[in-house]
């Protein structure tokens, strides 16, 4: 600020108003994140939901689809029962393949094996395949 010829009191008033303005901006800058942080998380995106025709999932076989941008799989282990899983191997991220004859998922990268419900049978994967929420509405399977 250039040399003011104003008396200290006047200069101070001006500076205080400026500081007040900056203070309001800073309060907003602190308050907004605080509010968002404390606010409850938004409900699950309805647009994420995937609808699959029941007929596409024959008993004993699987149907691959995309869920939230990642490969997923839905299968019918017993008639009327549907299970949806993420097809991303929990070891290092490769995509698992369904082995019809052996009734399990096999990962081609390091031979991780998962059961039809996603649990690890053998190999390096540290945890089961992520299960996705499934609801049945008449002839439609809703995932997510």
């Amino acid at each position: 600020m250039e040399q003011d010829l104003m008396a200290p009191k006047q200069r101070r008033k001006f500076l205080q108003i400026l500081a007040g303005g900056v203070g309001v901006l800073l309060a907003a800058a602190a308050g907004w994140p605080l509010l968002r942080f404390l606010a409850p998380p938004g409900g699950g995106d309805a647009s994420d939901q995937v609808t699959i025709n029941r007929g596409e999932v024959a008993p004993g076989s699987v149907h691959m689809f995309q869920y939230r941008g990642r490969p997923a799989v839905v299968l019918q282990p017993s008639p009327g029962e549907f299970v949806a899983l993420s097809a991303v191997c929990t070891h290092l991220g490769c995509i698992v393949q369904w082995q019809e004859e052996e009734d399990l998922f096999l990962c081609p990268c390091h031979a991780g094996r998962f059961a039809a419900d996603g649990t690890v049978i053998s190999g390096p994967p540290p945890e089961a395949l992520e299960t996705l929420p499934v609801t049945l509405e008449g002839d439609q399977i809703l995932v997510g």
Binding site: P8, L25, L92
Partner: protein
């Protein structure tokens, strides 16, 4: 007072020199019995241990028994067929030996010209990747010296050319994701995706068929593009954060300066 201090110091020093030094208890992974024995052996029995150390298998916790079987915790049963010990595989047994884990590569290899030539002494895993001193597959494994051991370099050179561009793109994305993860951004999912794409890409090479490789490269490149978009979104997010952070920093600096100027107005009044 001074004498008391010196006496205490002397006593303390004497005591501490006499008392034993306690060992810092460090928890380390125990070595398998395989390593405990073979590390001390000579020649071809001991060499694999040194070769394996620092290899990609070592870094990922894959040890002797994971491939050769046997019991890694019991000296008596370490090399027992009862515990799955299979010993050293013969030339023609090697693909299935490595293929116990590397399922996808085995599939593609068996369909390839190399796979067909296996019984006749053709190339198998160890031919290019070494045993024990195995490293993450890289493009330079395809080179004139290696491939011309059995045939001319023509097709190999062509394949290497086709692979080069995608390989470079994979490497660049790996670097970017590494940089992001060092900043603390969680890119585990993206790193997993890239790993999956890289493996799909590497595995396709083993067919050593140009059309097949081109077929597989298409989807891989699509996947890489999608990843690049996701990374761009993450970087844009980080850029936004930095922007608003800079605004906040600037506001604080301005506030500090304003407060200092206000202080100066008081100082002028304080002067007598």
């Amino acid at each position: 007072m001074m004498r008391l201090f010196v006496l205490c110091l002397g006593l303390f020093t004497t005591l501490t020199c006499v008392l034993p030094v306690p060992e810092a208890a460090a928890q380390q992974a125990e070595e398998t019995v395989c390593i405990q024995c073979h590390a001390g052996l000579e020649g071809s029995l001991g060499a694999p241990v040194q070769a394996w150390r620092g290899s990609v298998h070592d870094r990922n916790g894959i040890s002797c028994h994971d491939c050769h079987g046997g019991d890694p915790t019991d000296f008596a049963m370490a090399m027992s067929p009862e515990r799955g010990f299979v010993g050293v595989p013969e030339h023609a047994e090697i693909p299935e030996f490595c293929g116990k884990c590397h399922v996808g590569v085995l599939e593609d290899y068996q369909k390839s010209a190399h796979g067909q030539a296996l019984e006749a002494g053709g190339a198998q895993c160890v031919t290019c990747h070494n045993s024990h001193a195995v490293e993450v597959a890289k493009l330079d494994l395809i080179n004139r010296d290696s491939c011309t051991r059995c045939h001319d370099y023509g097709r190999a050179e062509k394949i290497k050319e086709i692979l080069a561009d995608t390989d470079a793109r994979i490497k660049s994305l790996e670097g970017e994701l590494e940089r992001l993860s060092e900043l603390g951004t969680n890119v585990d999912e993206q790193q997993g995706q890239l790993f999956s794409l890289r493996n799909r890409f590497h595995r396709a090479f083993h067919t050593v068929k140009i059309e097949r490789i081109r077929e597989q490269t298409g989807p891989v490149l699509e996947g890489l593009d999608k990843l690049r978009e996701e990374i761009a979104a993450v970087e844009s997010d980080l850029g936004q954060r930095k922007f608003w952070g800079s605004v906040a920093i600037a506001l604080l600096v301005v506030a500090g300066i304003l407060f200092f100027l206000i202080r100066r107005t008081y100082e002028e009044e304080e002067k007598p």
